[in-house]
């Protein structure tokens, strides 16, 4: 006992060294031997080390022991469930064995393996120790004991698989047993332990934890890292294997087993405290988790079976759930966990929002129904209508929320100032329906029109900047529209791909011509028919046997048709101009003296022209005899020109009227000053002290307010346009359908199949109507803030009305055209219209001074002065200074120049890219051709070789036959002669492999005949594609000669 007291440290280190040696030996000697053995050995070493640790500091040791046990548990999850009696059994067993082992260990050992010098030394040491102290002896005993175990096991190697679990139990049994044994000793030896020893142990423990995952990759470190390190590594490896096996058993396919593996790795990582992970491992884990996340994201795009997708999803989700928490360490961990949680919530929110958004998309079912009845082209109109509705909703929100509502709520109420009051002269009829219908009377003096708005800088308790808001909303409306249209166009251009080239004409026809949306028998029949015709046309074109009959007549007719169309356009333009002029005269006369027609002439004429001219164009276009698709384009172009012409004539006429109004305004202004002067003179003369006379606002004379007039015109135009559309729909479609249906019973010919028939839905015409309607909205919205609201109403109604009309009185088109290509075509038209309609609006805003007594900008020189005013009064001085510097032409001009240059540069680069693209495409095509040729050549060569071989074989057969039947020499010559050309006929030969001698008597002459024939007919050249089996030729040749 005293000895131990004196040299505890020395002895301990010695033991430690022993253990190390022992391990090294076992490991190095038995490297190829089974893992289980090593693991068992090493485990006991580890147990030993943990005991040593315990000796020094009970707490640490307890921790490490627990870990040791955990380790076992991890390895054998099932075993850990086994009740502790098992353990105690083994414990007892070992307790009995201990002495025995001690005694016989060396002998056994010697018998089983060669002793090295080192080991002998070690044994000497151990003997010495045995003598010195009981405590040390017991400590030393452990490695030996383990060794015996191993050697015993070695003899029963083939039973490893079954014994593994037992061994584990034993190992654990050892540990626990030792733990109990050592606790006593602990009390004894506690103080004597050296601190560095303890440190070493702990360091080893930590180290090993960190390196667990890398397993076999760190062999070099293992030697230094100490025995325990390896021990754990070993167990880890084993564990991994086992788990992997389990996973493979459960999941059949490759993907999941890989995942399982991943999971295992990470599993171990997680069970080790995350903060003890090395950065690389964290990185790896993070990568794995990210990968899983990505997989989840992209799962919906995977062409797997749903079942597999679901399984994969569940597994990946579990994985992410489990190991996301392990990421991040120390301080950052909390933050990371928080971040993860937040992203999860964000995802959930996004999904819910997405669901909500799709739930908000209206008319989905209606459109679906139409799609299934009429195919995608008709449905595309309704989708376009819905899109338009969306845009108008936003425009409406802007004007309603920022202009109309603030003015109505916070501005001065009706009747307080002249511009907000119906003049005395109109008061009597201001509430009449006819007047209201024309948007006069009370309608004119309301928030619906420009004139009602006051020029008060700030309204209400919010100090809302009304004029500024009005101006900005006007600008914002246009800007937003541009943005949306251009963005949609860009997206469409991306989606539609680069499918302009004609290289896949037939393939596309074959694979993409069926419209999967069609669910209506009638439409399906039409589609079948149209596909058939398109194929026939394509075949005809392909064969280029299309002959043009009398090209001169066609040309003449086309020129004539264009001339007629031009006449129509000019006539309609003149008519509109004339009508507008006449209406001005009527207005000067006073509207009351005229009939309803005369008052509404302009709008009616425009609507009627828009209705009948397209029909006229349709009739004219039959003269031209174009291909239907080309004809459609012409038709669209003409209608576009007509609408545009009409609109611009209308605008020009309006401009005339504006000028008239402005002259009128000047007179009124002069009159007012005189009127005021007289008023004041009167009051001044009456009584001096009295306050200025209060005159009722209705009595104040006022200017004509051209802005309101423009707004009214546009509103009236929209209304009449809407009415015409609806009425045409009702008469042209519904009434016609009703008549056709019911008169058909008592008519002399079949109305349904014959002349009137049911109408078809005119996609292009309707789209154009919609586009122009929108153009008018854009043009007039500045002067009549109610226009977007009206348009929303109109679109809403027409959605239902047209859906109903289409479903109940239209028939599917007989000729169905491609819808996709036209998508961007319509958008481009919309863009053009947007530009053309903002042009006059901007022109009037910029050049014409606003009316002096109405609207938010009254009293200003120009409408945009409101910006200047805001800058001066609402922003700090330096800001307006900066702004004025920035807006000075010296800066603006270079900026514009720069933009132009940038646009030019981008344009040219895109052009060059396009060129490169074309070039690449060409190259690709060339390569394809080359490939094809190469393949053909290769096939040719192979066939040639085959043929050659066959030929030789047949020759051999012939030779044999010659020997047998002694053929004439002439024939032999011929045979030789025909050998050369045969090389070129190689393509024929996907024939049988070279002949054997089995049937020489029949084959020989036959093949000769065949070649003979070939010689005389050079038709079958190598490149010629017409090939057939040689046998058939042979057969035919057999009959021919």
């Amino acid at each position: 006992m005293q000895l131990t007291h004196h040299t505890p440290a020395l002895q301990d280190t010695r033991t430690h060294l022993h253990v190390l040696f022992l391990w090294q030996r076992t490991y190095l000697d038995e490297a190829p031997a089974c893992d289980a053995e090593d693991a068992a050995a090493v485990r006991s070493i580890k147990a030993c080390s943990s005991i040593r640790l315990q000796l020094t500091s009970p707490l640490d040791a307890a921790g490490s022991l627990c870990e040791g046990i955990q380790d076992h548990e991890r390895k054998m999850p099932r075993d850990s469930l086994i009740p502790s009696e098992n353990d105690t059994d083994i414990e007892l067993d070992f307790a009995g064995e201990d002495d025995f082992q001690e005694a016989h260990e060396r002998k056994k050992h010697r018998g089983q393996r060669r002793d090295t010098d080192r080991e002998k030394k070690r044994r000497k040491n151990s003997r010495r120790k045995e003598a010195s102290s009981s405590a040390d002896r017991e400590k030393e005993l452990q490695p030996r004991h383990k060794k015996t175990e191993r050697s015993r096991r070695r003899s029963a190697k083939n039973e490893q698989e079954t014994k593994r679990s037992k061994r584990d139990e034993e190992g654990r049994g050892q540990t626990t047993r030792r733990k109990t044994a050592k606790t006593k000793k602990n009390i004894k030896n506690e103080k004597t332990k050296k601190t560095d020893d303890e440190m070493e142990g702990e360091a080893g423990e930590r180290n090993e934890k960190g390196k667990k995952k890398h397993g076999s990759a760190k062999k070099g470190e293992r030697k230094e890292g100490g025995s325990e390190h390896v021990a754990k590594e070993k167990t880890q490896v084993k564990k991994k294997k086992k788990r992997h096996k389990k996973v493979v058993e459960t999941s059949s396919d490759q993907e999941t087993s890989e995942e399982g593996d991943d999971e295992e790795n990470a599993n171990e990582d997680e069970e080790v405290r995350p903060e003890s992970l090395s950065p690389e491992e964290l990185e790896k884990l993070k990568e794995a988790v990210d990968e899983k996340k990505k997989l989840i994201q992209s799962l919906r795009g995977k062409p797997w079976l749903m079942k597999k997708k679901l399984v994969t999803l569940r597994e990946s989700q579990e994985f992410v759930e489990k190991y996301e928490g392990a990421l991040g360490k120390g301080k950052g961990r909390k933050l990371y966990a928080y971040k993860v949680m937040m992203t999860k919530r964000w995802m959930k929110f996004q999904r819910d929002f997405e669901n909500f958004k799709t739930a908000c998309i209206p008319w989905e079912m209606k459109i679906k129904e139409i799609e299934s009845h009429f195919g995608s082209s008709v449905a595309s109109y309704f989708i376009f209508l819905r899109w338009m509705y969306g845009i108008n909703m936003i425009l409406f929100g802007l004007t309603f929320g920022l202009v109309m509502v603030p003015e109505a709520l916070m501005g001065r109420p009706y009747g307080t100032i002249p511009r907000k009051t119906v003049p005395r002269a109109e008061e009597a009829s201001a509430m009449d329906f006819a007047v209201l219908w024309d948007f006069k009377g009370y309608a004119q003096y309301s928030v619906l029109f420009y004139g009602y708005y006051n020029n008060q800088r700030a309204v209400g308790w919010l100090k809302f900047r009304m004029p500024l808001s009005y101006f900005l909303v006007g600008v914002g409306t246009v800007a937003y529209s541009y943005m949306v249209v251009i963005r949609t166009m860009a997206r469409n251009a991306n989606e539609s791909g680069i499918g302009d080239d004609n290289s896949f004409n037939f393939s596309w026809k074959t694979f993409t011509s069926w419209d999967y949306l069609i669910g209506n028998p009638e439409t399906a029949d039409n589609k079948f028919a149209s596909i058939t015709t398109s194929f026939k046309e394509a075949i005809l074109e392909e064969q280029e046997s299309r002959k043009d009959d009398n090209i001169h007549l066609t040309r003449f007719l086309r020129v004539l048709a264009n001339f007629l169309v031009l006449c129509c356009l000019a006539g309609s333009g003149y008519l509109i101009y004339f009508v507008v002029r006449r209406s001005q005269k009527f207005t000067l006369d006073g509207l009351e003296n005229h009939t309803w027609w005369e008052r509404n002439e302009v709008n009616m004429v425009m609507s009627l022209l828009g209705m009948f001219c397209p029909m006229l164009f349709d009739v004219i276009s039959t003269l031209e005899n174009y291909h239907p698709r080309v004809a459609l384009q012409w038709q669209l172009g003409r209608i576009f020109a007509l609408f545009l012409g009409n609109l611009y004539t209308f605008i020009i006429a309006l401009m005339d009227e504006i000028n008239l109004k402005r002259e009128e305004e000047k007179i009124v202004k002069f009159n007012i000053t005189t009127w005021e002067a007289s008023l004041y003179n009167g009051t001044v003369s009456g009584n001096f002290t009295a306050p200025p006379v209060t005159i009722h606002p209705a009595d104040v004379p006022r200017g004509p307010c051209w802005e309101t007039m423009v707004g009214q015109e546009f509103v009236r135009l929209i209304i009449s346009d809407t009415m015409t559309t609806y009425i045409t729909l009702l008469i042209g479609d519904f009434l016609r359908a009703v008549l056709v249906r019911f008169l058909n019973y008592c008519w002399c010919w079949d109305l349904e199949a014959g002349f009137p028939s049911y109408s078809e839905f005119d996609v292009s015409g309707n789209v154009l109507g919609l586009i122009f309607n929108q153009g008018m909205i854009w043009m007039g919205a500045f002067y009549a803030p109610c226009l977007p609201a009206l348009n929303v109403l109109r679109l809403h109604v027409s959605m239902y009305l047209q859906c109903w009309a289409v479903m109940c009185c239209n028939v599917p088109q007989e000729r169905v055209f491609k819808a996709s290509g036209s998508n961007n075509f319509y958008m481009a038209m919309l863009l053009v219209i947007l530009f053309l309609s903002t042009l006059p609006a901007i022109y009037t805003i910029v050049t014409i001074p606003p009316s002096f007594d109405c609207g938010p900008f009254s009293g200003k020189n120009r409408m945009f002065d409101v910006i200047q005013e805001t800058l001066e009064s609402d922003f700090p001085a330096w800001f307006s200074k900066v702004f004025s510097y920035a807006s000075n032409p010296g800066l603006v001009l270079p900026f514009i120049l720069l933009m132009v240059l940038a646009i030019y540069y981008l344009q040219s680069t895109s052009k060059s890219y396009k060129q490169a693209n074309v070039e690449l495409k060409k190259k690709l095509q060339m390569q394809n051709e080359e490939n094809k040729k190469k393949n053909k050549r290769a096939a040719l060569k192979a066939q040639l070789d085959l043929e050659e071989a066959r030929k030789e074989a047949s020759q051999a057969g012939e030779l044999q036959k010659n020997n047998n039947a002694s053929i004439q020499s002439q024939e032999a010559d011929e045979e030789n002669h025909s050998r050369n050309p045969r090389i070129y006929h190689g393509r024929n030969g996907r024939g049988p492999p070279p002949f054997t001698d089995r049937e020489p008597s029949t084959r020989g002459p036959v093949s000769r005949n065949y070649h003979h024939g070939n010689l005389s007919t050079p038709r079958y050249l190598p490149g010629f594609s017409q090939q057939s089996d040689p046998t058939t030729y042979r057969a035919s040749n057999l009959q021919n000669p």
Binding site: L299, G301, T512, W514, I539, K818, S820, G821, N931
Partner: protein, 187 residues
């Protein structure tokens, strides 16, 4: 709300949303449609994932597929057994691929499967003939069909093996302007 809970659990709905291009509502509607096809076979309660398959004949009768000349092929190529028996999972999968939001690549893969009548992973002349005959209700003469088949293969075949592999098909279909707009079924 209560009705929704009884058909699927929230987790199931989430999983379906992760695996398809549908929203919650659409999945429920799909289940409704599926249920409609065979009310006595399909349970209303899917929380315990019952194993229930509907035969091809029932599914093909849906108005969405009824007029489609390739209806049988569509259903077959989405079924696990290749015979056209669809479980609800596969049913959802089918309409997910055919939905508007599915990407072109995914659609191309299934379009190839659909047009591959003899399931040999190539579109050979035989497949093309069948496709054409279904497209035109056999109104083209055999010579015309022959010509079109030849032209089609000639155009799209890049490796010169006289049949279209998937890469050929994808190369061709990725440039088709109409493919996305026509290869979809709204449910």
């Amino acid at each position: 709300m209560g009705n929704k809970q009884t058909i699927f659990t929230d987790e199931q709905l989430d999983a379906y949303q992760d695996c398809t291009f549908f929203t919650r509502k659409e999945i429920l509607r799909l289940h409704g449609r599926y249920h409609e096809l065979a009310p006595h076979l399909v349970p209303m309660d899917y929380t315990n994932e019952p194993d229930c398959k509907l035969p091809l004949a029932l599914i093909v009768d849906m108005p969405e597929l009824k007029e489609n000349p390739f209806r049988n092929r569509i259903v077959e190529s989405f079924s696990e057994d290749g015979m056209g028996n669809l479980s609800f999972n596969e049913f959802v999968d089918m309409f997910s691929v055919l939905s508007e939001t599915a990407p072109r690549e995914l659609k191309a893969i299934y379009a190839f499967k659909i047009y591959d009548f003899n399931v040999d992973n190539y579109l050979c002349k035989e497949d093309l003939e069948k496709t054409l005959n279904r497209l035109t209700k056999e109104e083209l003469t055999p010579e015309e069909v022959d010509l079109v088949c030849e032209k089609t293969i000639d155009e799209a075949d890049l490796d010169g093996d006289n049949k279209l592999s998937y890469s050929d098909f994808e190369n061709m279909i990725s440039r088709a302007p109409d493919f996305l707009s026509t290869f979809h079924i709204r449910i």
